[in-house]
């Protein structure tokens, strides 16, 4: 890379900052948890997982922690995705394909609206934080 000018440096910082924020645990207030047991993966949870990450990247959202977990027990409606957003009920969505994954990012995370057709359950009381 050639020598930077002031504006180059600022641009570079903005870019890299976004990349670094993704791994910073302290600024995460919302969580998307994808069930990735054998049942989930067989039903396409990996595609869902990738779609969610891609959509978050595309929208420049960094405050959401995306993680995977084991089977949630709802094998009939895999892939399942649990979404935890402050001041909203904790929800488990069922049958979340890649497109619905993107919808979760846009509707639930950005617009703070639940997605009617896919709500499957709310987590059992003992695992609600």
């Amino acid at each position: 890379m050639a020598k930077l000018t002031l504006s180059d440096l600022r641009k570079l910082r903005d870019e890299k900052q976004k990349a670094m924020e993704k791994r910073d645990p302290s600024n995460k207030d919302a969580q998307i948890i994808v069930g990735m047991g054998t049942c989930g993966i067989a039903a396409g949870a990996k595609e869902t997982f990738n779609a969610i990450i891609e959509e978050l990247d595309a929208k420049g959202i960094t405050h959401v922690l995306v993680r995977q977990t084991g089977c949630m027990g709802l094998c009939h409606s895999e892939p399942t995705v649990e979404v935890v957003v402050p001041n909203m009920p904790v929800v488990i969505y069922g049958n979340v394909d890649a497109a619905t994954g993107k919808k979760i990012v846009n509707d639930h995370i950005v617009n703070k609206k639940l997605i009617d057709k896919h709500i499957c359950d709310k987590p059992a009381m003992d695992i609600v934080r």
Partner: protein
């Protein structure tokens, strides 16, 4: 498509020497084998501070904190944590946790810490300038070059109350302004990375974990005082720090953050590394400058101070690594913000290398004014093996021994000197009941006698004399006259030595005579060493009724001083015994007595 998970592996010297490099490669290999190269990034970072439990691995963004990870654990970590999303409990610091997000919040070690200097250590990859830039790196430089005049920079640093972290605690802003007011012309900015106290590794870890923070500060300092040339004086015994520094300088030069016309501001600055041969005295600023000039590392009297007449006779500012690492934060957050942290006279934080008889040895950063008790018992996890705390030594061989009655003294420059020690560069060695105070004083004097350059008589002769008296006392041949002589020599050395090395070399003696006179008395009167460290005062014997005749002691004795039939009580021949203590260690029946 970005990475989904990040595995941070500690790349500090402590962890690397503990199979950390093999672990890093094993993790990378496992990631490749499982086809996760595009999903998981393995990052090697600087020291995470928790050296006691190294190698440390942190998985982000879940913030899972694994300790004592071995290369053979890599496969399990990838398979379980990364692929299946299940935490590997046996590698957690608290083995009872099972949730994925058990981060540093759950570990007492990090609770009382406040990280300014170590802000990026263990967070970024020190070999990647982009990661430093992402963490507001070179933003303070931007601010200084385009929004501030050199005098504004100095004012801001003065306002922060930042004082030199190398030991003496001279106000940094004042030092800069002395050099700044010198007539324009060739000036130099030097970074003192000649860390030499036994047990101290703060500066090494800072350079290893975040080299750019020091480079950025040097450029800013150069701008403030009107210097266009900088040197980092670092000891050749720090190969990893040197390598990361070289990489950092090359990257900053490539980006135009070093060199001609930085960021188009018209200001130019270059940095060169100068390697020292590891002489303790070269940490003293005038000796350091002599060494850079290619001369023997010997101090010269001050004044003239280096800020007026330094390197090659030109005005030179010398700052310690830790002092410099504070500078970018001072400029970005403001001197007023910085001055709110700490005590009335000592602002900001201090990094300590916590070592000795402590459970969690490691690298910590605490606000000034934190007490020794908080550092040793809350962060350090107390004394190893539940033994009793005897003393803490700050400031390495230049500091004093701090007895238990001062555990609750808030640590700052003034308080430490009041109780006979110094802040020093940040080594903190904890001693327990098994340490003999005259023996420790002897160890430090041995070090300073070795490291004295020999130029001035008080240090060269006084140090040797002090050491001889201590050897006499530890051999049980000391007298009260020796103690009086030691006190007199100590005072003379402190007053008449040419540089800091000689002036402070007697601190371990003076402080221990002040607080632990009873132990000296025991050595002189009763010829007794309560810690069992002074070999000449020890006598090993076998308690006949307890001895079952297992022959374990006789087999381990290197000089065949123990005799006895099988299943019959043994006897130690005191004339042959070399007091190595191996029989004492090996006896399962507590039948060997040490007195």
């Amino acid at each position: 498509m970005g990475y989904k998970q990040y595995i941070l592996v500690c790349g500090g010297t402590a962890c690397e020497s503990n199979q950390g490099i093999a672990l890093f490669s094993a993790l990378k290999k496992a990631v490749e084998e499982h086809g996760l190269v595009n999903d998981v990034q393995v990052v090697r970072t600087g020291c995470l501070g928790f050296c006691e439990k190294g190698p440390i691995v942190k998985v982000l963004p879940q913030d899972t904190f694994y300790v004592e990870v071995k290369p053979e654990d890599a496969e399990v970590l990838i398979k379980e944590h990364i692929i299946k999303g299940r935490v590997v409990s046996r590698l957690l610091y608290d083995k009872n946790q099972s949730k994925l997000n058990v981060g540093i919040e759950g570990i007492d070690f990090y609770q009382k810490q406040f990280r300014i200097v170590l802000r990026n250590c263990g967070v970024i990859d020190p070999d990647k300038i982009d990661e430093y830039i992402a963490r507001d790196g070179y933003k303070a430089l931007e601010k200084a070059l385009f929004e501030m005049k050199p005098q504004d920079v100095i004012d801001e640093v003065s306002k922060s109350g930042l004082r030199g972290r190398g030991g003496a605690g001279f106000p940094t802003g004042k030092k800069w302004s002395f050099a700044a007011v010198q007539p324009a012309g060739q000036k130099y900015m030097v970074c003192n990375a000649d860390e030499g106290d036994p047990g101290a590794y703060m500066d090494r870890s800072t350079l290893e974990g975040d080299p750019h923070s020091v480079l950025e500060a040097m450029i800013i300092a150069g701008y403030a005082i009107g210097a266009d040339k900088g040197y980092v004086y670092i000891r050749a015994e720090y190969p990893l720090a040197i390598q990361r520094l070289e990489t950092a300088i090359a990257q900053a030069t490539e980006y135009g953050l070093l060199g001609e016309d930085i960021l188009g501001s018209g200001f130019s600055f270059t940095i060169e590394i100068r390697l020292g041969a590891g002489a303790f005295v070269c940490g003293e600023e005038t000796a350091l400058l002599a060494s850079i000039e290619g001369k023997r590392g010997m101090p010269t009297p001050r004044p003239p101070f280096p800020a007026v007449k330094g390197l090659w006779g030109r005005p030179t500012v010398i700052n310690n690594v830790e002092t410099l690492a504070n500078i970018p934060v001072v400029l970005l957050k403001g001197g007023a913000w910085f001055s709110k942290i700490g005590t009335a006279t000592s602002k900001g934080t201090k990094v300590f290398a916590l070592t000795g008889k402590i459970n969690n040895s490691g690298l910590i950063e605490v606000p000034m004014g934190t007490t020794l008790r908080e550092i040793i018992f809350d962060i350090g996890g107390g004394i190893r093996g539940g033994k009793a705390f005897k003393a803490a030594q700050t400031g390495g061989p230049s500091g004093g021994m701090i007895p238990p009655q001062f555990l609750d003294t808030p640590i700052d420059y003034e308080n430490l000197s009041k109780i006979g020690s110094i802040m020093g560069s940040g080594g903190l060695i904890v001693m327990d009941e098994d340490d003999c105070i005259p023996d420790i004083a002897k160890f430090y004097l041995d070090f300073t006698v070795d490291e004295s350059c020999g130029k001035c008589a008080p240090c060269r002769i006084g140090g040797r004399k002090l050491l001889n008296y201590l050897i006499k006392i530890c051999n049980g041949e000391g007298s009260y006259e020796d103690i009086d002589n030691m006190k007199e020599i100590s005072e003379a050395m402190a007053r008449a030595s040419l540089c800091g090395l000689g002036q402070t070399a007697s601190n371990p003696v003076q402080s221990s005579l002040r607080y632990f006179m009873d132990e000296y008395k025991e050595h002189i009167d009763a010829k007794k060493c309560r810690a069992g460290k002074c070999k000449n005062l020890l006598c090993y014997s076998i308690i006949t009724p307890k001895c079952v005749g297992c022959t374990a002691c006789a087999r381990v004795c290197p000089v065949n001083a123990i005799a006895g039939e099988r299943k019959q009580p043994h006897v130690i021949d005191a004339a042959k015994c070399i007091k190595c203590g191996q029989c004492f260690e090996v006896c399962k029946f507590h039948a060997v007595a040490r007195s």
